[in-house]
Symmetry: C2
Subunit: 404 residues, 2 copies
Amino acid sequence: MSSTTDHTTSTPHLPLTRESVFSAHARVKQHVHRTPVLTSTTLSNLASTPQNTSALVGTEFEGQAPARPKIKLFFKCENYQKIGAFKARGAFHALSRLTKEELARGVVTHSSGNHAQALALAARTYGIPAHIVMPTISTPSKIAATKSYGAHVHFSGSVSEEREAMVEKVIQKTGAVLVPPYDHPDIILGQGTQALELEEQVEEILASERGDGDGRGGLDAIIAPLGGGGMLSGIATAMSGTRTTVFGAEPSTDGGDDGRRGLAMNPPTRIPSVKTLTIADGLRTPVGIIPWSVISDTNKVRGLYAVSDEQIKAAMRLVLERMKVVVEPSACVGLAVILFDEGFRHVVEREGGEAGWNIGVIFSGGNTTVEAIGKLFEVGAEEGERAEGTVGKDGAKVAENVAG
Amino acid sequence: MSSTTDHTTSTPHLPLTRESVFSAHARVKQHVHRTPVLTSTTLSNLASTPQNTSALVGTEFEGQAPARPKIKLFFKCENYQKIGAFKARGAFHALSRLTKEELARGVVTHSSGNHAQALALAARTYGIPAHIVMPTISTPSKIAATKSYGAHVHFSGSVSEEREAMVEKVIQKTGAVLVPPYDHPDIILGQGTQALELEEQVEEILASERGDGDGRGGLDAIIAPLGGGGMLSGIATAMSGTRTTVFGAEPSTDGGDDGRRGLAMNPPTRIPSVKTLTIADGLRTPVGIIPWSVISDTNKVRGLYAVSDEQIKAAMRLVLERMKVVVEPSACVGLAVILFDEGFRHVVEREGGEAGWNIGVIFSGGNTTVEAIGKLFEVGAEEGERAEGTVGKDGAKVAENVAG
C-alpha cells in the first residue's frame, strides 16, 4: 500500500511526538473503548519460571543456565475494542483530522481485514460514505461484516496492482480521501493512544495493590506485535522520552521477521516485500515507510524479537484456556516472546533485577472463529496430555485466573 | 452422590434463607474473586430481536408472531472464578463451617471435575488434607490439575458404587469429612453468593449508566444452569423475597431436562437417575434431594427451560466470537434459553413490557480446551458462512463488544 499513501488532505500532519499522541487521544476517546487491562497470576508466574534447559537445545543459549526474569504481566485487551481490534483507534483519528469538505467526499481504503471494518464504523459514526475495496475472493462473512457498517464494497482482483487500480477508480469517481491501514501519521498517532491508556491503567492497578495510592512510573516495558508497523510505531511514539521501554514482536515463520532482518542489516534497511504463511495472519504485511522511520530508531524501539508459529500457538492456548480470553494468533506474538525468547528473557533478568519488570502486552485483536481455533489446534497431541508438555513449566496455580 | 451426603458435622446446618447466603458471603469473600459482570451491546440487541418465523416451525408457536422482548443482558463471569468455575464458592463455604477438629481430619469427595479442584484448592488454603476419589479413566490433565493443588488422589472404578466404596474406605482410614458436590446446605449457600454479587454489580452498572447514582432494584431476573442443582437452588435461595425472578436452564438432549420433566409430573417429582450425552457435560448429573426441595418451590424458581445441543453451541459461538470470552458449554444454556426458547421470550415480553428486563446470566465456568472447542464445531458449515445462518437475526452491530 505504500505507493498510494499520499492521500491529499489540507491539514498539515502532526509531528510524531508523545504530545501528538495525547492530542490524538483527546480526539478519539469519545469514540473508542478504554479497553480493560487484565492481569493473570498464572501467566505472570509462568513468565517468571525459567525455561527447561531442553528448550534451549539448538539455540545460542544451549548449555547456559536459563534466564530467571521476574515478570508481572499487564494485558491491554484491544480484542475488546470496537470492531474487535485496535484498528478503530487509527480510523477514528484519521477521520477526526479531515476538514468538513474532505469528510463530505467520503473515505476509501483497500483491506479485507480489521482496518476495513474500522474505517467503515468510523465513517458511519461521522455520517459519511466509506468505500472499501476487497478482493472478490474475500470470505462472505468479512464482506457481510463490512457491509453491515453501511460501507460500499467494491470488488477487485487480489494482487496489489488490481486493488490499487480500483481504489484509484473510486477516488476519481467520488473524490474520496484515501485512508491507508498503517503508513500514515494520523493512523500511527491514533494507534499510539492505547499506550497512554495502558500506562495509566497499570499505574492505577499498582496504586490499588500497593495501597499507598501511588503507582507512578510502574510500567517498565511494552511489547507489541509488528506487521505493517502502525501500532508499534504509534506506541513507541507515545512512550518516547518516558522510562518505559518498547519492544516489537514478529512471527519468524516463512520470512515474517522482516523487521528483525531489516534491522540486522548494515545500515538497517526496510524490507518492503514480504509474503509469509504464518498463522499470525494480521502480521503478514511488510513494514510501512513511516512506521519504519520510528521502528528503526533504537531510542524509540529497543529491539525486535521473532517467535515460531508453534510458540505463538502455545501462547494462544494459554490465553484461551487459562485466562479464558479469546484472542487471534497475531495478538499472541508478544506473550510468546516473553515466554520463549531466551534473549528477551535475559534482558529482563539483567535490567529488571530483583524487583523485576512490569510488562504491558498488547492483545491487539480477537477476531477469530471457533472453526479457526479448531483448525489451528487439530494436529495436536491427545487432549488432556498436551498443555504442560507444550509449555513445559507450569506451577501449581493451574487455573487460578485473576481477571479484572 | 445423594446416598452418601450425610457427612457428620457437629455444627447445625444454616436454614436455606437469603440471610444465610449473606452469612456465607461474609465467610467466603476473602477467598473467592468478586468476578466481573460484563455487558454486551451485540448480545443484548440479538436477544431483543424477534426470532425468524422459520425458527418457530414445528414448535407450539408455529404460525404465531414471534415474541418481541426487550432484554439487557448482564453476564456474571464465574469462568473467571478461582479454578475457573463457581464451585470454589461452595467448597470454601463448606470448609468455613467445619470445626477445628473436623478440619484436622481433612476432607474427601469423589469428582473428576470442577468440584474436585475447588475442594483441593480450599483444603490447601486451609492447610488441611484433601482426598479426591477419581475414576481410573479420568484424563491425565484433570488428575494433574487436582494433584497440583496438593490433593491426595485415590483411584476407583467409574460406576458410582465403586466410587462410594472408595470414599467410605478413605473415611474409615482418615476420618475425613465428606464434602458432596451439590447435595448439601453449605454447598448450596456458598454457590448462592454469586447472586448477591450479581445483584449489587448490576445496580452499580445501572447507576453509573443512569448518571443519577441509583440503580436499586435493577435486576429483574437471573437465569442459571441446572445440573445437580447446587447453584440454582443457592441462587434461588439468595433471591427469595426480592423482586428478582429466578429461572433454570437445562440441556434437552438425551434426557438432560430431568428437572423440567420432574416439575411437569403431578405432583412434581425428582427424577433421581439421569444419563445423558449432552455437550453440556457439567449438567449430566441428576438433581440432588435438597436442591430439588428449593427448585420445585415455584415461589423460588419460576420455571425451568431446556435447549438443544445445537442451540447451546450457537450461544457458545456468540460468546466466544462476539464477546471474546471463553466459556464451557454448560455455561451457555441460560443464554441459549434467552435467545431461542420462544416460551421464555414471551414471558419476558409480557412481564417486561416497554421497559424490558435486565437479565443476569450465569457464566458458570470456562474449563475447556482448544481441542474441545475444535471438536464441538468441526461438523459445521464452511467457515465464513455460518454465524448469521445459525443465529438468524444479527443486526448491524456485528463486533462492537463492550466488556468491562
